[in-house]
Symmetry: C2
Subunit: 155 residues, 2 copies
């Protein structure tokens, strides 16, 4: 294992979950830790290319493992290109915004308890484990782009 990959924080996360420390796992975890927005598998593979040689199957297995150990969260996307983000205490479950044009995913403010409470009790019979709120539309830049385009067409 190349020592430069051994980031102290990433190592600690694996240790806490009792997972063995392989360069592949550290590399994947590194990407998740150093990105601000959630990333989909395609971006993860791209980001890994320059850092380490890793089989695509391994990426699936690592992500699946991280999810089981609740190291990461998976954000469902309409087209099936799901996104992943770190699931730390400082980063609680929150809604997301997905731009239908550029497919950029951004994180929104988390729900307060009173806000969530309404959905926490849809029925006494359900046991609720997860609430996913996904908002879609046009992001700021894509919205601006279409505005400018319309103006130039009018001229």
């Amino acid at each position: 294992m190349p020592p430069d990959v051994k980031d102290k924080a990433t190592l600690h996360i694996l240790q806490k979950s009792g997972l063995s420390k392989t360069p592949q796992r550290l590399a994947v975890l590194n990407i998740l830790m150093n990105t601000v927005v959630p990333v989909n598998i395609k971006s993860i593979r791209q980001a890994l290319e320059s850092k380490i040689s890793i089989n695509r199957v391994t990426i699936y297995r690592i992500l699946s493992l991280f999810k089981q150990h609740m190291i990461i969260r998976e954000i469902t996307s309409p087209g099936g290109n799901n996104y992943f983000e770190l699931a730390t205490m400082k980063n609680p479950v929150h809604p997301h915004f997905l731009c239908r044009k550029c497919a950029a995913l951004s994180c929104l403010e988390p729900l307060t308890f009173s806000q969530a409470n309404h959905w926490l009790t849809p029925d006494k019979d359900y046991s609720i484990e997860n609430i996913e709120i996904n908002i879609s539309g046009l992001c700021a830049s894509c919205r601006n782009a279409t505005k400018l385009q319309k103006r130039s067409v009018k001229q």
Copy 2:
């Protein structure tokens, strides 16, 4: 076209959208109209089998077309097995509950305006087109089943 398939209501829906009335479209629409819970493609295909001979490609094309014309809505599912439901005025956008065990999807009460309003303005820069709320966990019957199982184990 066999006349027994020509349900008056389904015909009218296609007419309103200016779509030509093929037996395949009527059959698909019929299923969506006669089901209480949203259905995924697999169930749609199964339901169609006994009614009409239809190519799987045609089903995809019809569903895609219905979505464009806002006759139906697609409900995103974590695993990618999305569900479809009729999008009428009497059936506004609403949250859904997906059981992680039996994969049954059920409809929850729609948001009131004041409830939705909080999410309608995450940022002035976004233009919001859709809000999807998906709650997951265990449904009533699956929850009961596990309870009973635990009890019998304890004995």
